[in-house]
Point group: C2
Chain length 524, copies 2
């Protein structure tokens, strides 16, 4: 239509629903490969995915923690399954249409989903489902194609999408108009590459703890956590250092020329603790202590409300050696990239869960100390910044004081939503439906930003922060970074960037362009 001069570029940009881009962005099945279709359902969220069948969100999470791909199979999903939907590669339901919970949430997450497949009969207690005369057990591998609704036995090779034709035209036009930078949330070489291909202009959130779940490393991590003395902890950290350094190096190589925001260790330590007896025994053998000791220490570290517990920068204050190791890994990786003549990235080191300026002051000093050490060691200059996540109401209110020690703020809107509402995302499933039905929530605040409450805190933090520190860079890195309505809000507020998952980058680019264009429409 633009070519035919029926509408102009701006009108074209404004006419497209950003969420529909999703269909063009996901891996599809390789057409050259033969496949055994066992059933069909509704093509509820585009993309193809293969993985082991699991019947509970918990099992999907457990297998994710050991780096295994899963397909979550449920009669239908509810908000309680969300963490499992995040963890799984794809979702398959026996009931529910194109607007069922599974379908809506999967599309929002960019997860392939086949919904309402009446051809499958799920038997939770025997952990299996039947499709005609075929029985699929938990742990068997299947493939789902969210574009066609096909359910296929075994793994089918997939083809990665390529940006081309109209799609890339729209993307290029988006870049002409948008002001917001679009970054991505990524911890692996692979995700970083996908995001860059989709036009990401850097990484907005690299969650270092996600690098710790690898089979090879988890034992060192557990050794670190169970340490009772600084000496023991350092022994474990020394073993982790080369792994972390390589992780960063790989990401830096893909993201050359762009900024990369790295969040230092954030989650409660006990997430990394051994849970099953088998894991406990394994750690005991590795550490040459007895299982009871491991169990006792694990119990000791248990928390009532881990979301509000010993996590984030509180770990950095209690165990500075952990953050020191992480900074050393980051800076060593930067130096090695420089030696290999790779176009440099700016490392933006992010301190999580700050609620006072003093926490940031102390940890900024720690980062600077390590940077000085490495700069001296290699006689070179390192390009880095120190900033913080604003994810607690108090941090938003104290933005003026905190910004004195920050080069950037990144709004962690997931946690900020949890604390502002006093609602744990993991537990909200028990009452979220009642809240939607009673019209208390128009939309799940973890899906689209609550502009009047959480939004006011972001607005307060932005204006107080920038008033005290003119050069302060502002961005958001929660799941909201990929939601068009939330992006519009961030654009209006004058943030510098949003960060979202790799497959949401094009959605975010278009949304950012729309936000900018809409802001200029004059109401007569």
């Amino acid at each position: 239509m633009v070519k035919e001069k029926l509408i102009n570029k701006k009108e074209a940009i404004l006419r497209i629903d950003p969420n529909t881009l999703d269909t063009l962005l996901h891996p599809t099945l390789d057409k050259k490969v033969e496949k055994k279709i066992i059933a069909k359902g509704l093509p509820a969220s585009p993309g193809a995915a293969s993985g082991k069948v699991v019947f509970t969100a918990e099992e999907a999470e457990r297998l994710k923690s050991v780096m295994q791909n899963t397909i979550l199979v449920r009669v239908e999903t509810s908000p309680e399954d969300i963490h499992g939907m995040h963890a799984a590669k794809g979702i398959l339901t026996a009931r529910g249409g194109m607007t069922s919970h599974a379908a809506v949430v999967a599309r929002g997450m960019g997860r392939p989903c086949v919904s309402g497949s009446a051809e499958i009969i799920i038997d939770y207690s025997n952990k299996e489902f039947k499709a005609g005369n075929i029985t699929v057990k938990e742990g068997d591998t299947i493939t789902i194609d969210g574009g066609s609704g096909e359910i296929i036995l075994g793994t089918v090779a997939t083809v990665q999408p390529k940006i081309s034709g109209y799609f890339s035209t729209i993307m290029n036009w988006s870049n002409e108009f948008k002001k917001l930078k679009i970054r991505t949330n990524a911890e692996t070489k692979k995700d970083s590459r996908v995001a860059r291909e989709f036009g990401a202009e850097g990484i907005g959130l690299c969650r270092t703890e996600h690098m710790f779940f690898d089979q090879e490393r988890i034992l060192y991590v557990r050794e670190m956590i169970l340490s009772k003395t600084k000496e023991d902890r350092n022994r474990a950290l020394v073993k982790l250092l080369p792994h972390q350094k390589n992780d960063f190096k790989e990401i830096f190589k893909v993201m050359y020329g762009f900024p990369v925001t790295i969040r230092l260790l954030d989650p409660p330590l006990h997430e990394f603790l051994p849970k099953t007896q088998k894991e406990i025994d394994e750690v005991a053998t590795f550490l040459k202590i007895n299982s009871k000791e491991v169990k006792d220490r694990t119990d000791e570290l248990h928390e009532q409300n881990p979301m509000l517990g010993h996590r984030g920068c509180r770990l950095g204050i209690s165990f500075p050696e952990i953050y020191e190791m992480q900074c050393e890994a980051i800076f060593e990786a930067l130096v090695e990239c420089k030696k290999e003549k790779i176009k440099s990235v700016t490392a933006e080191i992010m301190i999580p869960l700050v609620s006072t300026d003093i926490e940031l002051k102390i940890l900024r000093n720690l980062v600077n100390k390590i940077a000085d050490k490495i700069q001296k060691k290699y006689q070179t200059k390192i390009d880095y910044m120190v900033g913080t996540m604003i994810e607690l109401p108090r941090a938003a209110l104290q933005a003026k004081e905190i910004s004195k020690y920050a080069n950037f703020f990144s709004f962690g809107t997931n946690d900020l939503t949890q604390t502002t509402f006093g609602i744990s995302r993991d537990d909200s499933g028990k009452f979220l439906n009642d809240y939607i039905n009673n019209k208390i929530f128009q939309i799940d605040p973890f899906v689209s930003l609550d502009q009047s409450g959480v939004g006011e805190l972001i607005q307060i933090a932005s204006s107080r922060g920038r008033q005290a520190n003119k050069k302060l860079k502002l961005g958001i890195c929660g799941e909201h970074g990929g939601d068009p309505r939330s992006i519009d809000f961030c654009s209006k507020l004058g943030l510098d960037y949003v960060s979202c998952s790799p497959f949401r980058v094009p959605v975010a680019r278009l949304s950012a362009a729309q936000a900018e264009l809409k802001s200029k429409i004059k109401i007569p």
Copy 2:
């Protein structure tokens, strides 16, 4: 000195440290009774208390839940023990001076404490302590006298303090100057009476869930929680109604002429769930279902972060019949008191954990509906108000909208501190010492109100709320209501009242008078 005209009344009021009043306010040992002193320690926090010896905070809490008095015995205490110190009647430590953690915290709480008794040797693993040649086992009863430092075997009768002489002079003068009303947090006839004797002008927080732990009722409560249908739930609620009604009636009789703020059910349901196998079996027998079913339902109700879970008004939205029963009990109690010609109280019905105006709108309608029903039934008018706790950052920010449906706001500063900082009080022990040592916190924000963060939210809520609703009554009901610095802050903000535990009422009266006097001191 005032009598001798050396100073005037105002100077006298300003010269007294409110915290020292505590020494005059606690039960003392009956001097006529013989006692067997087995050891001595430091008189760290005044008052005498008897109870069963326990060695862990958990055990103190468990016994409290079955209405048993305990003395918590520890080598020394740490912030992790706070919940146990709240639960116990008294605290005894083997190590630590007058400014040790146990001593400072116990004085703040108004709990008797004997600290640093080098004469006792604690053996945690055998659950006993030795004092000379006497061995005291877990479960044995001892008495401690925090005024003298004596540790006594068995129960010794105590004498309740009486306000008289200089003490009551100072209290009367305080009343002349103070503007803030002083209320109390109480759920029993006994606590209400003590508070009234100390000068409390009403109840600021009556936690209805505290009435549910009684041995007789817990089974009905468990029946209610485990119900899968509304019908089953109603059957259990009908049994609870007369108990709740009587609780309220007893309190109203003591508090005649004053307002009584009643908070509808607040805590996560699973706090009431059976935990041990014995409890599970007991419930199963009572409900005539099998133990596995009880266990499964219990597991189903488990939450990751109960503090941010299905609690407060979220329960009222999901299960309106629970709040309906509670309102019925309150209004029936009011009507019966009226019939018995007892000077009326104003029932202030408080909806907890609100984060949006719509929650309050829905639940206000529910309260009004029940009030109408009872008023019609007895052809009488009931004196009541509906208000809400402001204990979530979002509620503070949305005060303008929420105040449209509220006659009063009560700041729940415990929870507001938890969500504003993102710190669970129960879990803060793991890092609080690191935070104090690093001067990140000057003082534990759960002990004295964080004026710059939490305080700003209170200030925002107060001004927005009063702007939209001129008649809005404002008070605070967290533990901070008994802390002099926090009271000074509330006074400056122009709140109407503070509410604190019964034994802190005199401290609060004096603090409120000082706050008023200080505000008028002209700085030349």
